[in-house]
């Protein structure tokens, strides 16, 4: 596998066609090992925080819950929802990113490219400017509506032309809609002087996760993750290009519309709850592709596991790096992810 990568003086090719085979064993290894690690990381993450709680108490809290015990209450009301939210959000962003990269065939694509983050930001800035009294759950709902609006605009404009939403059109429409909505929300934020509160919301964090939020968000994310796994075969075909996919008999219009819906459900629900920690969606698919090859049937589940792991660990870092303050989650993810991503970029493998 690694043999011909380090050959000297070999001209760089963007697409190394020799790398077509996938590594199913690697994928299984990642999924099984990753899930094991994920459980460990979540358990460890629950024990850490302002009050150190031994692992045994965590076990007791989960299986012999005692409402009189403060530690049990901390675990059930604060820490457990927080780790569960991190894991869900990580999986959601990573899978959304993988689907976007596969369908648009652009290594720079992530869920932000569907206008999701910008749409959520736009609606949030309107909420903060004109309806300052909204409750947390209402803000989440509005934010999701904003994401849906952003995605709808992007997809609608991209497919207005006969011939439908070609990847190129989708990418360009996404960039333009995203910029437009972001500019509008910046304008509103500066004019009504709410920029800082929006910044705190969008910097990203799972700090305030509650069961109430999870109850809203989890079914969507779970359904969409399943949907992504079902679609993964078609995404693999799409990643060969529109023409090839059509030639192979794929209904590309339908697949693209379904993929857009999956991405919206995954990333829209996540952005609404934790803000834009979009970098997960960009790096994790590249990481998964590096490990398991180019088949999205393996990339998508691996991305889900790796994304969960990354966000759970990053959230642990966010809480413990600089106590009692929290470092913004997005920043921790970038600090961990960037060096690694740079390493990936220097290895020459097929990247889409």
């Amino acid at each position: 596998m690694t043999k011909h990568i380090n050959e000297p003086a070999r001209p760089v090719q963007e697409i190394q066609t020799g790398e077509r085979e996938s590594r199913a064993w690697a994928a299984w290894l990642i999924i099984v090992l990753g899930l094991g690690l994920l459980v460990l990381a979540m358990a460890f993450s629950i024990t850490k925080g302002a009050a150190e709680i031994p692992l045994k108490t965590v076990w007791d809290a989960l299986f012999h819950f005692n409402p009189e015990d403060t530690h049990h209450l901390i675990i059930m009301d604060l820490r457990l929802p927080r780790v569960v939210a991190s894991a869900l959000v990580g999986a959601a962003f990573a899978v959304a990113g993988a689907v976007m990269q596969g369908v648009t065939r652009n290594p720079m694509a992530d869920s932000g490219l569907m206008g999701l983050n910008a749409g959520a930001g736009f609606v949030l800035s309107i909420c903060f400017a004109f309806f300052p009294g909204l409750s947390y759950i209402q803000l989440i709902l509005f934010s999701f509506l904003g994401s849906a609006m952003g995605a709808g605009l992007t997809y609608g404009i991209a497919s207005l032309r006969r011939g439908g939403a070609t990847p190129m059109r989708l990418v360009l429409a996404g960039a333009a809609v995203g910029a437009l909505l972001a500019a509008l929300s910046q304008g509103i934020a500066l004019y009504f002087d709410v920029a800082q509160s929006i910044m705190f919301w969008t910097a990203g964090g799972v700090a305030a996760s509650s069961w109430a939020q999870l109850r809203i968000m989890a079914p969507w994310i779970a359904a969409a993750l399943l949907g992504a796994v079902v679609l993964s075969r078609s995404v693999s075909v799409m990643s060969l290009g529109d023409d090839v996919a059509k030639g192979l008999g794929l209904n590309t219009m339908l697949v693209k519309a379904l993929c857009a819906a999956v991405v919206l459900m995954l990333a829209g629900a996540s952005v609404a709850v934790v803000g834009a920690v979009g970098f997960v969606g960009l790096i994790v698919p590249h990481l998964a592709r590096f490990l398991v090859g180019v088949d999205y049937r393996w990339i998508i589940p691996s991305s889900a596991v790796l994304g969960s792991l990354l966000v759970v660990l990053a959230d642990l870092g966010a809480r413990t790096l600089n106590p009692p303050f929290e470092t913004p989650l997005g920043a921790v993810i970038a600090l961990v992810g960037v060096p690694f991503f740079l390493y990936l970029a220097r290895r020459e493998r097929r990247v889409l």
Partner: protein, 346 residues
């Protein structure tokens, strides 16, 4: 891409006519926006007053408004628009990625980080800021670009476009993460300053900045225009470019350095206006096609028109306050671009 179905000769003639038309139209628009912009602003000057002042017959106050405030700002906004648009066009051509913009080379992120550090240590109202800040922003942009280049460079293969993109994205994300960590520490006044810098308020509007910016553009713009052929060849892909006898790595390095210098010098005085660099090349490409000999000038003109019109609107739309120009650029540019996207065939 599309093989024209019309006869070659006729097709050529039609293209020339259309391209000349587009360039002329942009030039006229540019002049129009210059004239309109001169007459708009918070202080009312009638067109006659403006004209009189322009030829030396105005009062001291009128002269101050026109020559001290408006003209330098108009000139700066046009220069910035042209510079950023050209830079974006080069980067899109070299990386062959439609999402690439000057920000991909770390320019906005690097300059932004330096600005935040500066504000954090010296405060937003510091006496130093007006003249030191552009210089520091330039350094930050240059450092980020250099870091990206160094990280993406490999001895045997030089700068492969894909590696450049991935490295650029990563460095951009890393620097923005640092920025986020720092932004949380700012007080309200500092935050407002940084927020409006990041939204791209052209704050360096003063003849000194025009003089500082002009030499860069006077050298770089003609240089880039002579490189149109190289860009055409590079945008066909490394293998074809190599086969056509281009010295791919050298051309690419020169073009990238030019793009960085253009964008960094502009961002230093304008704040973070990245959208022009993304959108102007696409606008121009949809109007005049992919050949850089026409595309580059069209792109520069489109950028200049876009920024100067946006700046004029940004100054008057919420008087007496004003909106950062970068925001207005996106609000005006994006819908027009989306319209073109829907309308055009390719």
């Amino acid at each position: 891409m599309n093989v024209p179905r019309i006869k070659n000769e006729e097709y050529k003639r039609k293209t020339v006519v259309r391209n000349t038309g587009v360039l002329l139209a942009f030039s006229v628009l540019l002049i129009l926006s210059f004239v309109v912009s001169m007459n708009t602003g918070y202080s009312k000057l009638s067109p006659m007053d403006t004209l009189r002042t322009l030829f030396g017959g105005g009062t001291v106050k009128e002269e101050l408004i026109l020559f001290g405030f408006r003209l330098p700002r108009i000139v700066i906004s046009m220069l910035i628009g042209a510079g950023l648009a050209l830079s974006g066009c080069i980067i899109q051509g070299v990386t062959r990625n439609p999402l690439a913009d000057p920000g991909l080379l770390g320019i906005n992120a690097g300059a932004g980080l330096i600005v935040i550090l500066f504000v954090l240590f010296f405060g937003a109202q510091s006496f130093l800021s007006v003249f030191t800040l552009p210089f520091l922003a330039l350094l930050g942009a240059g450092a980020a670009a250099l870091a990206i280049y160094a990280l993406a460079y490999k001895r045997q293969s030089g700068i492969a476009p894909l590696r450049l993109i991935l490295t650029g994205v990563a460095v951009q994300a890393g620097v923005s993460a640092l920025t986020t960590v720092l932004v949380v520490k700012l007080d309200e006044m500092q935050f407002d300053f940084v927020a409006s810098w990041q939204a791209g308020s052209i704050w360096g509007s003063n003849w000194r900045f025009v003089l500082a910016l002009l030499p860069w553009l006077l050298v770089l713009v003609p240089y880039v225009l002579t490189k149109a052929r190289a860009l055409d060849v590079l945008s066909l892909g490394d293998d074809i470019a190599c086969g056509l006898g281009a010295s791919v790595e050298r051309e690419r390095r020169r073009l990238l350095i030019a793009a960085v210098a253009l964008a960094a010098s502009c961002v230093a005085v304008s704040g973070s206006i990245s959208f022009v660099g993304l959108i102007a090349p696409h606008l121009a490409r949809r109007l005049v096609g992919p050949r850089h000999r026409v595309l580059l000038p069209a792109c520069a003109l489109a950028g200049a028109v876009l920024v100067s019109v946006s700046d004029t609107v940004a100054r008057v739309i919420i008087q007496p306050s004003e909106l950062p120009t970068g925001i207005m650029v996106a609000i005006i540019g994006a819908p027009y671009f989306l319209y073109l996207l829907i309308k055009s065939r390719q």
